[in-house]
Structure formats: structure tokens, C-alpha cells
Amino acid sequence: MFITDAIVENKTELENQIFLLKLYSPEISRNIKPGQFINIRASENNFPLLRRPFSVCDVEGDYFFVMFKIYGEGTLYISRKQNGEKINVLGPLGNGFNLNDNSKTALLVAGGMGSAPFSFLTKIFSDKKEIHTFIGGRSSHDVIQYGLKNIYISTDDGSLGFKGNVIELLKNKINNFDKSELKIFACGPTPMLKALKEFALNEKIECEVSTECGMACGFGICQGCPIQSANDENKFLLVCKDGPVFNVKDIII
């Protein structure tokens, strides 16, 4: 883990209020893995006080990318950073996706900003597996395709792709794939992960999900981010340290 000032190399507004930041930091870029996250200090002062967690979206040499949506004060401040400015980051944090399984096909399933970690995962998997990506959003403006491939889209309002949610879309398409060789990697809002867990367990498809939780520290010292273990009723796991990526079997969503 490092605490370091990353330097803004570039900022792109991908959609209204959705930004892609390219940040220079050899420490982070050379050590972070898909599904891990970093914790960003949005300002130097007490406002906002706590760091804000973001998945690593992609890595290119000494640069890493963060993709985010303006949500509240913290993301608003981060969105205002200019090229050349420093952003204090802490990371790499948590456990990323399992990169060593032997499935042949990866289905990446994203809800909204849940597509953020998948550019990097796509890059890493590209020469090992076949990849298909399912993205769901409320409307076409929520569907970010940056760095993804073989994309299937669903929108709640039908403004792009299948009208409905992304798990429905996945169910519709699942027979196109050979289930025995599949593995699902997912990231998105809790209701989506919940539906996905049920589906994956029913269909007996291996499935890893990246979860979210309000956090204070991001590296295991505050106990602020519990998630119920599926294996031990008396145990909470920590999203920041034991996750954010879990095998769906291990957690209660």
C-alpha cells in the first residue's frame, strides 16, 4: 500500500457527469490489479473529510485510470481537478478479481458505474479468455463502454439495447454460452448483485462480484464496511479488506 500524490495527466467527460481521469503514479499503476481500488482524498482540507473509494478502471504503464460519476461533494471536487494537479491516493486496496481460474469464457456484468473495473479486467483477460460484456443502465447515458468488448446492452427505459435490466438480458443470452466453461464477473448496485447471485447459484455458474459499502478507511482499521459471511453466521467480512471482490458463495447480499 502506498500513499502518494498522483498527477492528473488527462480528464475526459465520457458522458454528462461521468469522467475518466488518467493519473500518473508508478507505485499504484505497477502494483494494482483489476478489481482492486484506491482511496482518493478529494481535497486537502476537512471538507470532504474522508477519502473516497474508486475501482481502478485501467492501467497503461505508469498511468492508471479512474472512471467516476459525480455523486456528491467528493466526486464533484475530484471532477474539478485540472491537468497537472495532484491527487492524493492511497492504494492499491482490497482483493481484486481472481485472475487465475481456468474458465474459458468470462461474462462481465455491469450495472451503471459498475463497468468501471472492467476495462482493466478486459485487458488482462484478452489473451486468455473469450470475453462478453453485459452492461445495464437506466438510460443510454448510463452505459459506458470504455475499454470493453463484445457488448450487450440493456436500459431500463429502452433508449439503448434491450429494454429491461441487465440480469434479464443475461438470462436471455445465457444459452448462447457453454455453461461449463463460463465464469461471471460482476459489479453494480446491490439489487443487481442479489439477482445475479440467485441466477448464478441456480445455473451453477461460478461468479465473482465486486461489492460496495460506505467506508471510512478503506484498509481494514475502522471496521466500517461489514458484509455478512455466508459461511459463518457470526461473522462479518470487511468489504475493503476481504473484498471488494467476493465469490458470491461467500457472502450474503
Partner: protein, 303 residues
């Protein structure tokens, strides 16, 4: 060379900077950022007799220059702590202070008994003030005779110093400090978190599962300073100042109003290197202001 060391009873701390209970777990994660050998000491997450699972999420929420937490004293329990956490901490030449939380006087006593044989433990900090546990926490902290009873009873089963961590959610904190002193306590820590809450205006539900939580961070610093000053001006007992410290200047401010040492809490989440970084600056301050010993600052306010 300036002397940063401070004393609480017979305990000598190499500098007044300790890490606060509940904000550094049992030391392993934070040690990746801060060299624990360089700071005065570390206080464990509150330990209870049996492991505690803690509250369901959400457990933390940010507020203006502060945060609310309702962790619910999630901890591994004293036995697991002794078996699996102390060995790691033994590697560090720093004071280990064990914070204990319990829901009865007997439980406090039992926890202390179990741990008092551990050589690595320098002192116990007794948390009578955690606002998050329904079965006792707040009640003890608000009850003078309960605090007296706990202090006496725990003192009776250990030779190690007893520090009572006081609740700020009382009208006169100095009355509690006095009771601690009169009951044989060696020091007080002040303050624990203030009771607070926050609600989501759309769902009309609390932002913490537990509804109420403890407010910490810079927002509470003025309150914490006033509590330390109140104790200092009324009771002759060493005080460990806590509440909203984020800079070396804050450390000095707490010492001026009467703290012998301080604990850093919330800042560890934001900058886990903070404690180590402050030490150099404290020394620089002593040089600039012509003090030889940082202890000269304790209670040095001019009113």
C-alpha cells in the same frame, strides 16, 4: 535534542502521540504506514470478553468535518486477542494499551484478569463511554458510582495502570475524572465520541443501522479541548487528550489545555502516516519556542 517524552504514573512514553482505540484495529494494518516504534503507543480496539460481531451496515457516515460511527464494538474478544494479536504487537517497541469494553462490572474485571498477565500490555484503558452498545455502554459513562465501582474493581485485579476513557456526553466531565482519581485510577482519556445521528431525507431512514452513532473528527475538537481544560482545572489526574486531532498544532493545543499525551483517531483513516509525521514537527516547535521538554507544555495555558 529536545525531549519529547511524557510520563503517566511510571509509564514513560517516548512521545505524547498514541493511536486511539477503534481507529487502528490491533495495529497490523496501520503498521504498514506508520513505524509503531516511533510513536508513544497504541490503544487496541475495545475488547470484550467474548468476540462481538458488531452492528450490520451502514456503520459509518460522513458529516461536516466529522464522521459518525456505529461499529458496535466489533472485536475478536480477549482470548483471541491474547493468542493471535499480541504476538504481532510484541515486535514493536511501543506501549500497548488494551482498551476494554464490557456490559457489567464483572466482565470488566474478568477481561482485565485474563489479560493482566500479558507482559506486552503496558496499561488498560477502560471504555465506559462507548455510546453504541445498548446493554450498558452509555449507562456506565453517565453514572458516577458505576465509574467508581469499575475503577476500583479493575484496579484490584491488576498492577498495571488503569486509564478510564470518559464520555463527553455528560454535564460535568470533571466530576467523573474526580471519581476516577478517588477510586485509584491512574489517568483519564477524554474524549470518546459525541452522540449524533443523520437521516436520509428521501427514505426518512437513519444513515446508520444503529440509528445513533459517535461523532468524531475535527468537528469535535473545540468540545474535546473544553473537556480537557475542565478536567485539568478541577482535578489533579493525568489526562490523555482525544478528539479531532489532525495536525501537530492540535497536539500542542491539547497539551496546553492540560493533556499529558494525546490519541489520534479519525485522522488515521485519512492519513495513516499522520502520527509519525507529527513527531518531527513537534520537535521543531520546541526549538522555535525554546522548550527543552515537551512536558513543559502540559497545562501551560495562560488565562
Amino acid at each position: 535534542m529536545k525531549n519529547l517524552s511524557v510520563k503517566i504514573g511510571d509509564l514513560v512514553f517516548r512521545n505524547p502521540i498514541l493511536l486511539a482505540s477503534g481507529t487502528v484495529g490491533y495495529g497490523n494494518e496501520i503498521s504498514e504506514f506508520t513505524d509503531l516504534n516511533k510513536i508513544g503507543g497504541i490503544v487496541t480496539k475495545s475488547l470484550s470478553l467474548k468476540p462481538r460481531k458488531g452492528n450490520p451496515p451502514p456503520r459509518v457516515v460522513e458529516t461536516a468535518s466529522g464522521m459518525l460511527n456505529a461499529i458496535g464494538l466489533a472485536n475478536v474478544g480477549v482470548e483471541e486477542f491474547a493468542k493471535n494479536k499480541i504476538p504481532y504487537l510484541k515486535k514493536y517497541d511501543t506501549h500497548l494499551i488494551c482498551n476494554i469494553a464490557a456490559s457489567s462490572v464483572e466482565e470488566y474485571v474478568e477481561c482485565t484478569k485474563i489479560l493482566t498477565g500479558e507482559e506486552k500490555i503496558s496499561a488498560f484503558e477502560i471504555n465506559v463511554s462507548c455510546p453504541n452498545v445498548k446493554d450498558g455502554g452509555l449507562e456506565f459513562g453517565n453514572n458516577l458510582s458505576a465509574v467508581a465501582k469499575i475503577t476500583e474493581s479493575v484496579k484490584a485485579v491488576t498492577n498495571k495502570p488503569i486509564i478510564i476513557k470518559l464520555s463527553p456526553n455528560v454535564a460535568k466531565i470533571s466530576e467523573f475524572a474526580k471519581v476516577v482519581k478517588d477510586s485509584g485510577g491512574d489517568a483519564v482519556s477524554a474524549i470518546n465520541t459525541l452522540v449524533g445521528t443523520a437521516f436520509n431525507i428521501r427514505t426518512r431512514k437513519p444513515k446508520l443501522f444503529n440509528v445513533r452513532g459517535g461523532l468524531s473528527g475535527p468537528a469535535i475538537k473545540p468540545v474535546a479541548l473544553a473537556k480537557v481544560l475542565e478536567i485539568r482545572s478541577k482535578v489533579d489526574i493525568p489526562i490523555i487528550g482525544i478528539g479531532g486531532i489532525t495536525s501537530w498544532q492540535d497536539v500542542i493545543e491539547f497539551m496546553i489545555v492540560g493533556a499529558t499525551a494525546v490519541q489520534l483517531g479519525t485522522i488515521n483513516f485519512i492519513n495513516p502516516k499522520a502520527s509519525e509525521l507529527m513527531i518531527k514537527e513537534l520537535e521543531q516547535f520546541l526549538i522555535e519556542e525554546n522548550f527543552n521538554n515537551i512536558s513543559e507544555l502540559i497545562g501551560s495555558y495562560i488565562i
